[in-house]
């Protein structure tokens, strides 16, 4: 693991000079701002339901997911796929580094980038605190949940990026898997499945997880879910990177 910080450093720099990710960054901020503005307007109506704006901001609305899934799919799409396409994977993998170090560094750099995307949204918290009391607990839980779920979906993106040499394919596949996990929640509401597997569907649905995080419920179950996705995806990615050599 001695090389990890060197690898992460390079990955991180590479992300910040990538034009694609600057587009992501701009779009992300635009949509988050738009969604925050919509939420505030919505909640200012006399008929509005009760609740803190930030609770709705984190997973409480479709807008959150509209932003969340594409960013998680796009950030890691080039991680291994681009290296493979450019041939730099050969230079990288013939240096004294392990497969695990490579995958972990890619993942951590992408995750870090994802975290940085959210930093500007702290301004909303600041803004709200100027006009009223803010319960910081749910806000922190919201950020924590977002980070953990983001990590889970980015690890899926790393996996798809390891499986192909085409970044676009990697991004689309990651988006597909992400949306599938997201939509599993709906199965819980089908009459035919209601009752029998409700718990299961609720457990695998990130929707219900994020709902709780947004309300400020910090439950180990909600943390175990994304963490287990991360471990599983990264494990598979390492195997895949190793396995590439067996074919």
């Amino acid at each position: 693991m001695s090389k990890l910080h060197i690898l992460i450093g390079r990955e991180f720099k590479a992300l910040f000079v990538s034009p694609v990710l600057w587009v992501v960054l701009v779009m992300f901020l635009f949509f988050q701002g738009f969604s925050f503005w919509l939420l505030l307007n919505f909640l200012s109506q006399p008929m509005a339901p009760e609740g803190a704006p930030m609770q709705y901001f984190f997973g409480g609305s479709m807008l959150y997911w509209l932003c969340f899934h594409p960013t998680c799919a796009v950030i890691p799409m080039g991680a291994i796929a681009a290296e493979r396409r450019n041939g730099t994977l050969e230079t990288l993998m013939t240096a004294p580094v392990t497969d695990l170090e490579v995958i972990l560094s890619k993942f951590l750099a992408c995750w870090g980038f994802f975290g940085i995307l959210w930093v500007p949204t702290l301004a909303y918290v600041l803004l709200l605190s100027q006009y009223g009391e803010i319960d910081l607990g749910p806000v922190c839980a919201g950020y924590l949940g977002t980070l953990l779920l983001g990590g889970a979906f980015i690890s899926i993106g790393i996996l798809t990026s390891t499986a192909t040499r085409n970044q676009i394919v990697a991004a689309i596949a990651a988006l597909g898997i992400g949306l599938f996990l997201f939509l599993l929640a709906l199965l819980a509401y089908l009459p035919s499945t209601m009752g029998s597997h409700e718990d299961l569907f609720n457990y695998v649905s990130i929707w219900s997880h994020m709902d709780d995080w947004g309300k400020g419920i910090v439950d180990t179950r909600h943390a175990a879910y994304p963490l287990s996705i991360m471990v599983l995806s990264l494990f598979c990615s390492v195997r895949l990177l190793e396995g590439r050599r067996w074919r």
Partner: protein, 381 residues
């Protein structure tokens, strides 16, 4: 001398083709060894197995005594590798890239600057230190690749086609650099350019269609295949029978001499006059052949003006070896680009077994296609 690289029965098969077929050789430390073969012979695949990028299907390889499969990290610590297409992160600056690579290869923090400076100086990239790699010319990128290979001063340098795509000046510089590097490194370089081998290498390993077809010093190889010698014979025979007939007569006489295999008439040396005739004689390496030619000349009353042994160029050696093997195996070797060659798709299909002999003419297989031959990883095309 200890062994730097040892390869035993190394075999690599890809679905539908054998890229490297039971290759064994070993390389001593401190030598510059040329790995020679036409495009698609399996050079890159072999090198990728040596650098732990691809696993062998059968056989084993060891670098400085470490197995490339079981002790991959130890092996990678000891090699500096320049891949064929010189893949370098395009967004980084030269110095920044070399610093990153030096640290990645375990150069201690305090020594990184010195190591990078030295590598840049040796490869002549100092002036480009602040430039972005993606904006560099092919020649400069190649030099950055070489700088990367030697930045951690590994005992072994493995260079895959180091002069490909360079202009003649750069080629000369690169060869000089390689010769210099040979003083304190073991250098294993692959090439399909013969003069390169003749100029820089102490030893040659020849590979053709995935099989080892020769190993030794350039001189040894020449010896091995020239189970014959080529003689240059010029005689003067002032006769009044007409030039054509005289030449035919002499040719006939020469062919009758024991040990002579073939005689071809060639143009005479400038200023040798009307009654001079030149021949290229292919004879067995029997020491007496030249004597017999001399006596034959005396007997026939020819004036022997020249009788010299011509050394075979490595080029001819190569053509000889590869052709002989193709005949042995009864394969038709008419054109390259067939499926069983490791060089793969596109780019070099027109090369056939064309070993290039010129210094400058190496084009044709740079670019992305090289990357494809090894990995077999085109899931989505």
């Amino acid at each position: 001398m200890a062994t730097a690289i040892e390869v035993e029965h190394l075999t690599k098969t890809f679905p539908g083709r054998v890229a490297v077929d039971d290759v064994s050789f070993s390389i001593e430390q401190g030598k510059i060894v040329g790995f020679l073969g036409p495009n698609g012979a399996g050079k890159t695949t072999t090198i990728r197995m040596l650098t732990c990028f691809l696993p062998a299907t059968h056989g084993r390889a060891a670098v400085m005594g470490f197995d490339v499969f079981d002790q991959a990290i130890e092996v990678r610590r000891r090699i500096g590798y320049l891949p064929e297409a010189t893949p370098v992160y395009p967004e980084m600056r030269v110095e920044e890239y070399l610093r990153y690579r030096a640290r990645l290869k375990g150069v201690p923090r305090a020594k990184v600057t010195a190591a990078v400076e030295q590598a840049m100086e040796r490869t002549g990239t100092v002036e480009a230190r602040r430039r972005i790699v993606g904006h560099l010319s092919k020649g400069f990128r190649q030099r950055v690749g070489i700088a990367d290979a030697l930045v951690a001063s590994p005992p072994i340098l493995i260079l895959d086609e180091p002069t490909i795509g360079l202009d003649p000046n750069q080629i000369r510089q690169t060869r000089e650099l390689i010769r210099e590097l040979g003083e304190d490194h073991t250098v294993f370089l692959s090439t399909h350019i013969l003069p390169e081998v003749e100029q820089v290498c102490d030893r040659v390993v020849i590979i053709h269609k995935g099989r080892l077809s020769g190993e030794g010093t350039p001189a040894e190889l020449r010896e091995r295949v020239s189970q014959g010698v080529r003689l240059k014979v010029e005689v003067r025979w002032p006769q009044d029978v007409g030039r054509e007939r005289a030449r035919e007569t002499i040719r006939g006489e020469l062919e009758r001499i024991e040990g002579v295999r073939a005689v071809t008439a060639t143009g005479g040396a400038p200023g040798s006059g009307d009654d001079s005739y030149s021949f290229a004689v292919l004879a067995s390496s029997d020491d007496q052949v030249r004597d017999r030619i001399f006596y034959a000349a005396v007997e026939a009353d020819w004036i022997l003006r020249e009788l010299t042994v011509e050394a075979m160029s490595l080029e001819e050696v190569f053509a000889h070896i590869t052709n002989a093997e193709d005949e042995e195996r009864g394969e038709d070797d008419s054109e390259g680009g067939d499926g069983d060659e490791a060089g793969g798709e596109g780019g070099d299909g027109d090369e056939g077994k064309g070993v290039e002999t010129s210094d400058e003419g190496e084009d044709g297989d740079e670019g992305g296609d090289d990357d494809e031959d090894g990995d077999g990883e085109r899931q989505e095309g």
